[in-house]
């Protein structure tokens, strides 16, 4: 997937657990794991905002664009 989600890195920096983050953001742990495993197809702005507030960061810290390598 071209868009990579780097929530793990921010979790380690803020020394927070996944379940704690899920509770702060207001999504289920299942949805958080979908996000972390790059299985998500879309993210709501409200969720992104809640993530940035909980992790005290910018969207660029969480989302990264990696172009697909096509031979």
């Amino acid at each position: 997937m071209p868009i990579i989600v780097n929530v793990d890195v921010m979790l380690a920096k803020r020394k927070m657990s996944s379940s704690e983050l899920a509770e702060k953001v207001g999504i289920t742990q299942a949805n958080l794991s979908i996000l972390k495993n790059n299985k998500a197809k879309a993210i709501r702005f409200s969720t992104l905002e809640a993530l940035c507030i909980a992790l005290d960061c910018q969207p660029a810290d969480i989302l990264e664009y990696v172009p697909e390598k096509s031979n």
């Binding site: 958080l32 979908i34 996000l35 299985k39 998500a40 197809k41 879309a42 993210i43 709501r44 969720t47």
Partner: protein
């Protein structure tokens, strides 16, 4: 709640039809003879009629089983899954096979309106279930995207 009751009724109806089909499987020859005595000679060869009925019964039975599977899927709150799409595809194939059989029957054995009507009906069922299967596939894609939106 109302929807669930209707679906359960439909599901029960299909089970009833399957049971009737199994009974009919063994009693068709006697039924045909009895019907023929009752209404006089319809002009059609009885042996061919029985063979024909048995032949068209096979796709019809498969169709009923697939319809039952569809009902069960809907009752399990899983309406747009891979199995419903597959079931709808098989239903359309069975309907078209029936259409083909009835066409042969209409042209060669029974040159009457009833066979022609059933031929058209089978064709309609085939077309409708094919369109439904394409709809279900699209609906499954939309549902997937919605489910994977965080």
């Amino acid at each position: 709640m109302k929807e669930s009751i209707v679906m359960k009724m439909v599901s029960g109806l299909i089970t009833l039809f399957i049971v009737l089909m199994m009974i009919a499987f063994f009693t068709i020859p006697f039924l045909v003879n009895w019907f023929n005595e009752l209404t006089g000679d319809g002009g059609a060869n009885l042996v061919w009629l029985k063979v024909f009925l048995y032949l068209t019964a096979i796709p019809f039975a498969v169709l009923l089983v697939m319809a039952k599977k569809l009902c069960l899927n809907i009752l399990k709150n899983n309406p747009f899954s891979e199995s419903t799409i597959q079931a709808l595809n098989i239903i359309s194939i069975c309907a078209f096979v029936d259409f083909f059989l009835y066409t042969i029957g209409t042209i060669t054995v029974f040159k009457n309106l009833l066979s022609f009507t059933l031929m058209i009906a089978a064709f309609m069922v085939g077309i409708v279930s094919l369109v439904l299967s394409m709809l279900a596939k699209r609906a499954q894609e939309i549902k997937d995207e919605n489910d994977l939106t965080v």
